[in-house]
Symmetry: C2
Subunit: 212 residues, 2 copies
Amino acid sequence: MASETPDRILDEALRSFGTRGYDATSLDALAAALDIRKQTILYWFPSKEAVLEAVIERSARELSEALQLALDGAGPSWQRVEAVVRSVFRLAARRPELLNLLREVARLGPPAATQMLAALDPLVQRASDFLQAEMDAGTMRRHEPRLLLLAIYSTVIGMVTEVAVLQGFGEEPTARSLVRRRTDVLNLLRSALMMPPSAEVPAGLAARPTTE
Amino acid sequence: MASETPDRILDEALRSFGTRGYDATSLDALAAALDIRKQTILYWFPSKEAVLEAVIERSARELSEALQLALDGAGPSWQRVEAVVRSVFRLAARRPELLNLLREVARLGPPAATQMLAALDPLVQRASDFLQAEMDAGTMRRHEPRLLLLAIYSTVIGMVTEVAVLQGFGEEPTARSLVRRRTDVLNLLRSALMMPPSAEVPAGLAARPTTE
DNA sequence: GCCTCTGTCTACCATTTGGTAGGCGGATTG
DNA sequence: CAATCCGCCTACCAAATGGTAGACAGAGGC
């Protein structure tokens, strides 16, 4: 009978790495929260870093699955974007640890960030291709797809995980507040991304708006 | 003759807190980088946390001054937003530590984040009021001003500080790349924020786009 | 010439950290 | 029933951490 201990360890590590941060989470603290001894953690994982790697891998998989699922069911064009954003906000409500971890890993930099990005690469590729196709079809404004993706990512992740800033701004971390933020982000993104249906533009020549 | 040591300490602490993070920066490492002994740091600052507080205060002041300056010189409406964003990107080029610290402090949460936010509050207030006024005047799309501010903040800070993600996306951290990102962010923000000049809307009734 | 104050240092210290060595009980297997 | 293996544990350890105590060198005032 396989022990469930490693899974419990990863659960708690995910939570703690996401909230307190990797550095601020000691193996002892982790063990204490699980009511086991530190050596049990080191029995299942050779080092603290290995715990992080395992957490990243599992989380990246879960994240990927959730988003791919949202993508598979969604319609074309804007509805796809909306489906993904909604999916992220759903995650923010049900599994906030996942998004917190994402943010923490990005901060840690390589090698953790590299691993996470590699695991999410198919998703990134898919999203990138999608944006490119929409721009070519003239439904979305022209941008560097990767940069656009990063901008969307930053906005959404920020709106979802910047708890401290949010509270300073007078937003409480309630479900209602989350819904309001979702609505706002969606409106914002639609104005930012989508071409106004009136102004039709030939797909070949870029519709990149001039700065001046 | 007042010693310049405390300032050197704060300089290095700012750099290290921003890049490695507060937890991962030890007083010994800080001292070593300055070629002084840890006790000299503790002579000028009663504790590591006090160093952080001092760094935050100084950085918040510098940040505030830079942005207020940008605001003072700027014209109305969109030009104001553009001036601020350009100012942030200028900071990203010349004093990246400042923005990295901002991000790190937001992650640390209270009390550090509270202190930072309090110090930046006048700026936040000013920006918030400005957005509100623009919306009332019908030049910008209607949103919750604070949420909109958070979205802008997230986007810009993300585009400027998410080095790991950026590199994973194939962006090099060069000056040229920074300019491209700035152009992209500005285009994006303008589409997101500004009303199309054609569609005039009475200021009283909200122009909030419906979700469905 | 002495005293005091300032800035930095050496010498410690208790605690915490990630990690090693090895033991122990219970289930499985020959 | 003996041997083995699995999962978890107690007992340590060396290094690093934030912080205390106090010495010491130089500058300036009296």
